[in-house]
Amino acid sequence: MQSYLPLLIYLALVAFVAVVLSLAGGFLGPKKPEEHKYQAYESGYPTAPLMGRFPVKFYMVAMLFVIFDVEAASFYPWALQLRQLRVFGLWEMVAFLAVLAVGYAYVWKKGGFSWK
């Protein structure tokens, strides 16, 4: 447990410095409020608020990421134990990769990886 205590302290330190730096901007800079300064950037034209819709492909990428990142995470314990598992570990990996490859081929065929 000891080795993780410094982490919290580093985190607190970084947070402290970041907050101080962010606040410093308010103290150091001039303050000349003017309506147009606070508009969203659009080359000086007034702009409408954002639309609420977005292409679904971003959502697809996020889902694929969750799947493949979880799968990458499940590779790590196996990779660490490879030395002890020897040939058994090899076959385990083959089985796992085979299942994965089927899913991967399916997503590819369905066009999940194409950005159109």
Binding site: L13, V14, G29, Y41, V87
Partner: protein
């Protein structure tokens, strides 16, 4: 010295290390760009313009703090802090020199920690884009998030090859295991495919050209930090260069033996007086020298690529990540497992 005081000192050193390097790297990048484009770069502030970044930083400090009315204030304010935090926290597990004193805190889960902390930068990018409530910022953030999570998969997979050979997640262990077989033991030579995937994916994670779609200035003004100015923008820049430094240092540690390298102490057999270089602070100084040297090699590579290659299109980017890097890294894992079993690579 109590562990809490020690941690505070170490944390401050890590922070200073990132800030000072970022100051230098901004200047260095401008000079490299200038040399590549056959011009001089910053020349006015100090000799060869060395104080240019400091002057720019002070200018940013003195700017008005503007938060757009339409912005989601908490998200807008917190985003740069998250970005900086992830850039600084990575440094806790990266070894600068030999042994326990050579690293801020040699966590046994080093690689997982790196993967977790660097993922925070995606969150920061998305928070800033969403919080700005500006279409350019949101487009940049959406693209950036899609790009960073796509390449993160390939990145994590490429590091897996190294972990398999080293049999440990601690960076200090990975470095020492590489040196057991001399320079050929470097994972650069044992995992060449993983190395290439790592370099490409890390460039994409950093959002640097040729993968800088999220701040494509010709279409998105400045991407996710369009609405940021002054100090908050400075924090983003600090985080960007901090991340570049960190990814380069990780590359040096995972693939090129990190801090290991010949020191003057190696000559002790010929010149007995040089034996003193094997003790005290000297091994740390040599370690730090090699660490910094290898890290800067990668940084220079990143800058070189940025200023020579054109930007890729987003469909090319996604194809490269999902249809090329991911399957190749999976094949690499399988090949490494087989070779390790057949030839007993991890025995040495």
């Amino acid at each position: 010295m109590s562990p809490i005081v020690a941690s505070i000192i170490k944390g401050t050193v890590a922070l200073l290390w990132v800030v000072l390097n970022a100051l230098f790297l901004v200047w260095f990048e401008r000079k490299v760009a200038a040399w590549i484009q056959n011009r001089m770069g910053p020349m006015r502030v100090g000799r060869w313009g060395w104080a240019q970044t400091i002057a720019d930083g002070i200018k940013c400090l003195m700017k008005e703090d503007i938060i757009p009315l339409a912005a989601d204030k908490p998200l807008f304010v917190i985003a740069p802090m998250v970005s900086v935090a992830s850039a600084v926290l990575i440094w806790i597990v990266i070894p600068f020199g030999p042994g326990k004193s050579g690293v801020f805190s040699d966590l046994p889960i080093g690689i997982i920690f790196i993967a977790a902390v660097t993922s925070l930068s995606v969150v920061a990018v998305f928070m800033s884009g969403w919080g700005s409530n500006n279409k350019y910022a949101l487009f940049g953030a959406m693209r950036g998030a899609a790009q960073m999570i796509s390449y993160e998969v390939a990145l994590v997979m490429s590091i897996l090859g190294v972990v398999m050979l080293a049999g440990s997640l601690s960076l200090q262990d990975i470095i020492t295991r590489q040196t057991e077989a001399g320079i050929l033991g470097w994972y650069l030579f044992r995992q060449p495919i993983a190395f290439i995937i790592y370099v490409i994916a890390a460039l994409a994670e950093l959002n640097r050209a040729p993968f800088d779609l999220m701040e494509a200035e010709s279409e998105l003004v400045s991407g996710y930090h369009t609405e940021y100015s002054g100090l908050r923008w400075l924090l983003f820049m600090l985080a960007e260069y901090g991340h570049m430094l960190a990814w380069s240092a990780i590359a040096a540690s995972l693939f090129m033996g990190g801090w290991t390298g010949p020191g003057l102490g190696a000559l002790a057999g010929r010149i007995p007086a040089f034996d003193l270089f094997n003790y005290g602070i000297w091994p740390y100084l040599t370690g730090f020298f090699w660490f910094a040297f290898k890290t800067y090699l990668f940084i220079f590579l990143a800058m070189w690529l940025r200023w020579t290659l054109p930007r890729v299109r987003i469909d090319q980017l996604m194809d490269l990540g999902w249809k090329f890097l991911l399957p190749v890294s999976l094949v690499n894992i399988a090949a490494t497992a087989v070779l390790a079993n057949v030839w007993g690579w991890y025995a040495k």
